[in-house]
């Protein structure tokens, strides 16, 4: 139980450090909330009144403690633009991003791991090289550019091929404005999700295939395969029961490491496809210089990464008895 508690403690300390980092970011940046809230022609008296109201005149240490206290009670401040509570906007956007991210992660693993495994099996062959070059290319393409290409394909591309409009995929948004009946709504969201999920899953799978390939090749180089062959397993069984089994924990660890990448990709994907999640929220806030929202979303993303890492730490010993011993 002790290691579990220690990891939980580390996660909480990390969260605190991330909060401190974001606080430091805001307070080293030029300008303050009062300057951003008021129109440029506001006079000095109004400015100093607003500063006092916002508590910006208090000593930095006091502001820091109050900000930490607010975060601890779930108060992330209010948007400078809309005046809504940041926690409210995030509570709305989070499930939307979560759905997109989870669907993409599942597809990423389902495509990436078998692909990497197949490559490792035939490591060095022409097919292996071809897939390496292909996955590196997809992995190297800017996500926003791939998304734009998809938009072009389903609009102009589909129209010029004569695809009937009922069959075409929607290019933007999460649902059609007219669809309100409960029975049609889920299908409508699914239709809108195809393209964003596809882009995220393809780029994710390209990365995971690269990781999985090298982890399995590494494992095949060790003694496990020879041991399997020596105890009389067929080459196929030695591969699946020994080589792949040994590589599995590192593949899982690397999938967890790819979560921040999926998050980053989803920011662009949500931006291009107008998907109303946290990425879209962040981009809008960045465009409007809406500090409280930027900080709230940043903290939320950091929390998601820290929780993922914590879960991976807890999961790995179950997959790999060797790790449980340490």
């Amino acid at each position: 139980m002790a290691p579990l508690l220690r990891r939980l403690g580390t996660a909480i300390v990390l969260l605190w450090l991330v909060c401190t980092l974001t606080f430091a970011l805001v307070h080293t940046a030029p300008g303050d909330a009062a300057l951003l809230l008021l129109p440029p022609e506001a006079d000095a008296a109004t400015l100093s009144r607003l500063r006092a109201e916002l508590g910006l005149n208090a000593p930095l240490a006091q502001q820091y403690l109050r900000w930490l206290g607010n975060i601890a009670t779930g108060d992330l401040g209010t948007s400078l633009v809309t005046g809504r509570a940041v926690s409210e906007s995030i509570a709305e956007a989070f499930p939307v991003s979560m759905g997109l991210g989870m669907a993409s992660l599942v597809l990423t693993v389902l495509i990436g791991v078998p692909l990497g495994g197949a490559q490792a099996r035939r490591a060095g062959s022409g097919a292996d090289t071809a897939i390496t070059v292909l996955s590196t290319t997809v992995y190297s393409a800017p996500t926003f550019w791939l998304s734009l290409a998809c938009v072009a394909a389903v609009t102009v591309g589909a129209a010029s091929l004569g695809v009937p409009s009922a069959w075409r995929l929607p290019a933007f948004g999460m649902r059609d404005p007219g669809v309100l009946e409960a029975s049609a709504a889920p299908f409508d969201v699914l239709r809108h999700a195809v393209l964003p999920v596809l882009v995220l899953a393809l780029t994710g799978a390209a990365g995971v295939a690269r990781f999985a390939r090298s982890a399995i090749v590494e494992s095949a180089r060790g003694d496990v395969r020879r041991t399997g062959l020596a105890k009389g397993l067929t080459a196929k069984r030695a591969w699946s029961r020994h080589v792949v089994r040994v590589a599995w924990p590192s593949v899982v660890a690397l999938i967890a490491l790819s979560v921040p990448g999926i998050v980053a990709g989803s920011v662009f994907v949500e931006g291009v496809f107008a998907w109303p999640g946290m990425g879209k929220l962040l981009l809008t806030a960045v465009a409007q210089r809406d500090h409280p929202v930027i900080l709230g979303v940043t903290l939320m993303y950091a929390t998601a990464v820290i929780v993922t890492n914590l879960l991976t730490d807890l999961l790995l010993p179950m997959l790999d008895p060797r790790r449980a011993a340490t």
């Binding site: 970011l25 393409a141 996500t143 690269r210 980053a264 920011v267 960045v286 993303y301």
Partner: protein, 279 residues
């Protein structure tokens, strides 16, 4: 030990070299200024491999302002490559220094550097970049600094691990017995043996930095128009995706070619270094 690189790495290296030379020399050879706006109506939206109505021929067509896309891709490449390389080198240098200090000094410095690395790695790099770009004035110096400050963690961990492995080796003890100061031992004896993985990670970081720069510029937070960068060119072509897809397609392909080549070379270097490491 001279082992020829696999074909894909040779091809990647050739493509990358040609791209760098084209971007470095190309803009000086152009007859038309790719940032100047001339007779917009007669020159805009000319398709690739065709002449516009003022009978000037364009390899990759023209954009909404009648500017030659090929010339702009080359000029933008200068900025995008510079930002990418500078960002990666800066993060590599910061990482090497911090990693070496952490592994050599140990103690509170080590704890502090590792905690800083853990903290920065808890926030997805793009999100951190976006937050910084929104808080500070956008522009080339800001991007390079922020790329450097958000990308050093991986290199620092690699160098720290290498230094920790080298501390107890005989040649380090020998240097100290001979009277070398702690600093001289670290800089002259330990670091040269610990730097190979850091160099590889920095090479791999170039592609990543170019991608991030293009993303920031795409969102209007990086290189500011009228200076062209691959990212802001894609953003500029976004409106004309339907009528003039080449405007967004060409700079995107330039990014893909550059980053793919850099990544293939970096991956191969990483394999080589990993294969040479003892144990």
């Amino acid at each position: 030990m001279t082992q020829l690189a696999p074909t894909r790495v040779m091809v990647a290296a050739t493509i990358l070299t040609l791209l760098v030379i084209a971007c470095a020399v190309g803009p000086a050879l152009l007859t038309r200024d790719p940032t100047a706006i001339g007779d917009v109506l007669s020159q805009r939206f000319s398709a690739p491999l065709s002449a516009d109505r003022s009978s000037a021929w364009h390899l990759l067509g023209t954009d909404a302002f009648g500017r030659d896309v090929f010339g702009r891709v080359l000029l933008a490449g200068r900025l995008s490559l510079t930002v990418g390389i500078a960002g990666a080198v800066l993060s590599g240098a910061v990482g090497a220094v911090l990693g070496a200090l952490a592994g050599w000094r140990r103690g509170w410095l080590d704890t502090g550097i590792l905690a800083a690395a853990d903290t920065l790695q808890s926030v997805p790099r793009l999100v951190l970049l976006l937050a910084c770009a929104a808080l500070w004035a956008p522009g080339v110096p800001t991007i390079i600094t922020v790329l450097g400050l958000t990308g050093w963690m991986g290199v620092a961990r690699l160098v720290r691990a290498e230094v920790l492995g080298l501390v107890s080796r005989d040649f380090v003890g020998a240097a100290q017995v001979l009277g070398a100061s702690s600093r001289r031992t670290l800089v002259r004896h330990v670091l040269p043996n610990a730097i190979a993985p850091a160099l590889v990670a920095t090479t791999l970081g170039v592609g990543n930095a170019i991608l991030l720069e293009s993303g920031l510029s795409f969102l209007g937070l990086g290189v500011q128009p009228p200076a062209p960068s691959w990212g802001n060119m894609i953003a500029g072509g976004r409106e004309y995706l339907v009528t003039a897809p080449w405007i967004a397609l060409a700079p995107g392909l330039a990014v893909v070619l550059t980053v793919t080549s850099a990544t293939l070379i970096g991956d191969w270097l990483q394999e080589r270094v990993a294969a040479r490491a003892p144990g």
